[in-house]
């Protein structure tokens, strides 16, 4: 009998029916197995293979950018993406909004006890595929497990580093009166795609999340217009929140033209019956660019030639305003303020 015992033998992870258990985060053999059988093969690269607690890489002299972003979303899988692809795009975009070229990512997972391993594998595979497609490897990471009820399946924090090309100074405090405001495409797609999947909402919206990595679009934009003043991806709080942040940081006002803001028909309809304003609905693959008026037309044409900017438009301009109001000329011919979002955006009763 003794002869049948295989030293070091562990049963393979049951990726079909298994679940995350507390032992997967306890530092023992189960954790090592999870990393060896699930994370490593998916993310495989030369930085990860030595299995150190850190990754070592060389870099050139210059201005470096670091950004970190935590991703929590319900449901974990939604039309057009999942928390895995979102967690890669999110941090890559935050780095790209400085004009930088992103190089590497680190990923940290907080897993809830009971999370099906099949779901985790699907998420990790999606992250790995996304990172390979955009050629930005995940070079170090960490996992922790929390007790059932202390998490929402999985939370993913990604951190990225990148380098800003010489001569580029893009920052939210650089907008100046007279500048034009450009938007790379339709707004609200991500928020509505996610909302259509929520359990107590039974509407079927034919819309997919716009989650995408914007660094290549940014690289094209900078190649022709290196002196862009501001870049921002309007994620949580939507376009309205992003523009209000810029207005505050640059101490300027804005005048938007409602007729120029692209919104897809399904998103408009969904917002209409849910009582939401698309200006406040989240995006994950769009950017706002602000540049001097003489560069706006060139920049717009460059954006439109990139697949992620085909619907780009000039949506407004920067004006002087001590109150930092973001105003909008409505389709109807009146004026309104596009204010900060107060609390969460909640549907209206009437």
């Amino acid at each position: 009998m003794q002869g049948n015992i295989k030293p070091g033998y562990t049963r393979t992870l049951d990726l079909k029916h298994g679940c995350i258990e507390m032992s997967h985060g306890a530092g023992g053999r189960a954790m090592s197995q999870l990393i060896q059988q699930l994370f490593l093969p998916a993310f495989d690269n030369a930085f990860l293979r030595p299995m150190n607690d850190q990754a070592c890489f060389s870099c050139t002299a210059g201005r470096m950018v670091i950004s970190t972003d935590s991703h929590v979303i319900t449901p974990l899988f939604f039309p057009g993406g999942d928390i895995g692809s979102l967690s890669v795009h999110g941090t890559v975009n935050d780095i790209a909004m400085s004009g930088a070229k992103p190089y590497y990512l680190a990923a940290s997972f907080i897993l809830e006890e009971g999370l099906p391993l099949a779901d985790l594998k699907r998420i990790v595979d999606s992250m790995a595929q996304t990172s390979r497609e955009i050629k930005i490897p995940i070079i170090t990471g960490d996992t922790k497990v929390v007790e059932k009820g202390s998490g929402d399946g999985v939370f993913i924090t990604t951190t990225g580093v990148g380098m800003v090309p010489d001569g580029v100074l893009i920052s939210a405090d650089q907008a100046q009166p007279g500048d034009k405001i450009l938007l790379s495409g339709t707004i609200g797609d991500h928020g509505i795609a996610v909302m259509s999947m929520r359990e107590n909402l039974t509407f079927h919206a034919d819309v997919v999340s716009d989650t995408a990595a914007l660094h290549e679009l940014v690289a094209c934009m900078i190649a022709t217009t290196p002196n862009i003043h501001v870049l921002r991806d309007p994620t949580r709080g939507g376009l309205a929140a992003a523009l209000n942040e810029i207005a505050q940081q640059s101490s300027i006002g804005m005048m938007l033209y409602e007729r120029e803001i692209p919104i897809c028909e399904t998103v408009r309809a969904a917002c209409e019956f849910l009582g939401l304003d698309p200006l406040y609905v989240a995006n994950e693959g769009k950017l706002v660019a602000i540049c001097a008026p003489e560069h706006a037309e060139t920049l717009l044409q460059v954006m439109r030639t990139h697949p992620l900017g085909t619907n780009a438009t000039i949506i407004g301009e920067i004006i002087e305003d001590a109150h930092c109001f973001v105003q909008m000329q409505t389709l109807f011919g009146g004026n309104r303020i596009v204010d900060w979002l107060s609390g969460e955006q909640l549907p209206r009763i009437c």
Binding site: N200, L201, E265, R268, A269, E272, L274, D277, H323, F325, Q327, T330, L331, F332, G333, G334, N335, R336, I337, D339, W340, S342, G343, L346, P347, R348, I349, C350
Partner: protein
């Protein structure tokens, strides 16, 4: 969007605006109250005031269900939500309504209460079915628009024999509120608030029809034009009101003919009549106690009445002293007349109920209309 975009066209709005300019008598003022929060929201969101001449002024009325809910009833709802094992289901609008000490349902939720935001009364029934061991209360609010769905939920609960479902009923009635405003001393005797006519509710009128407004038009000699919630509806209704005022007519006209019938939706009305009866008195935030202005659940459905099941007693709690919501809801003051508007009281930290829902006069004005000259000067 078909049937929406047609009613939001800027070119047609300009044509109506031109007609309004031709129609007005420059030697007088026109003051119209839009009763409904839906209209307040549309006026603010589309910037309708910018298209009106200076002597045509819109007064925001009390038709925002969130704004008129008294603090005592909110306090009741919060107490219910804090009962162990109870699930309180509510529409999103009520989550942020402030009560005493800044407490709200969303704060109660953060402290551990099980408060669920629902989109329809059906969701509350489903939650009750999924949680047979727990009491589920639907915190029902709103005017005649949201009453029929509550009636359906009660009937469904009875049909399903649900033992753990009840409704905390706070449904209120539009006609009683309009009467109350018209009978208030400021308008009737003192003449300090001149209201020349009303824009009648859209969705409410789909249910109750246009007939209930004929009494006001005749008794108080005020024109009423029922209008849809789209901005062109509102513009057209204003033009119709101006024409009535100019010709000294006071009748009920229906601009919203694509949805409102004189008799309304009789099926919905009979459902409501089957499940609810009139409350003798009900307190409205801002208006005070208004007789026969709210509904309660009939005794034959008492098993589903949360007020009986949990023996709810409603305290009378006064508004914050500095808050002018009451006067604003009656059309006596404008949001910018309130000392705390935009300073202590903002949509992020609402003190009064008018600052909570985007249909509330103060929130709508803060969000969309703050840059108007008078208001900017005040904030400086």
């Amino acid at each position: 969007m078909k049937y929406i975009d047609e009613f939001r066209t800027g070119e047609i709005a300009q044509k109506i605006a031109d007609k309004i300019i031709v129609a007005i008598d420059p030697n007088r003022n026109y003051r119209f109250m839009e009763f409904c929060g839906g209209h307040t929201h549309a006026i603010a969101r589309f910037g309708i005031t910018d298209l009106l001449p200076d002597n045509v002024r819109m007064i925001h009325g009390p038709g925002c269900p969130v704004c008129v809910l008294p603090i005592g009833r909110m306090a009741n709802a919060i107490q219910l939500a804090q009962l162990p094992q109870l699930i309180l289901c509510c529409y999103a609008d009520v989550l942020r309504i402030p009560t005493q000490n800044g407490m709200s349902l969303s704060k109660a939720k953060a402290q551990g209460a099980d408060v669920r935001m629902i989109y329809s009364s059906q969701n509350a029934i489903e939650i009750a079915q999924q949680n047979p061991q727990r009491q589920v209360v639907f915190f029902a609010i709103g005017f005649e628009t949201t009453t029929p769905p509550t009636a359906i939920a009660v009937k469904q609960a009875q049909h399903l024999g649900l033992k753990n479902f009840s409704v905390f009923c706070n449904h209120v009635l539009t006609p009683s509120a309009i009467s109350h405003i018209l009978q208030s001393p400021e308008i009737r005797q003192l003449g300090s608030v001149a209201i020349d006519g009303f824009i009648g509710p859209a969705h409410v009128s789909v249910v109750i029809g246009s007939q209930p407004y004929e009494y006001f038009a005749e008794e108080f000699q005020k024109p009423v034009v029922i209008a849809g919630f789209e901005p062109l509806d509102v513009m057209q209704a204003i033009l119709m009101l101006i024409r009535q005022v100019n010709t000294k007519r006071a009748t009920v006209e229906n601009e919203y003919t694509r949805a409102v019938l004189p008799q309304g939706n009789t099926k919905a009305q009979s459902l409501v009549a089957e499940v609810f009866e009139l409350h003798r008195t009900f307190e409205w935030r801002g208006l005070g106690v208004v007789p026969y202005s709210a509904l309660k659940i009939k005794s034959q459905f008492a098993d589903f009445d949360a007020e009986q099941r949990f023996q709810i007693v409603t305290p009378s709690i006064a508004d914050n002293k500095a808050c002018e919501c009451g006067a604003i809801l009656r059309g006596i003051k404008q949001p910018q007349d309130c000392k705390i508007f935009g300073t202590v009281c903002t949509p992020d930290n609402p003190i009064g109920s008018c600052m909570v829902s985007s249909e509330g006069a103060c929130a709508a004005h803060y969000r969309y209309g703050r840059l108007r000259r008078d208001c900017v000067a005040m904030l400086e």
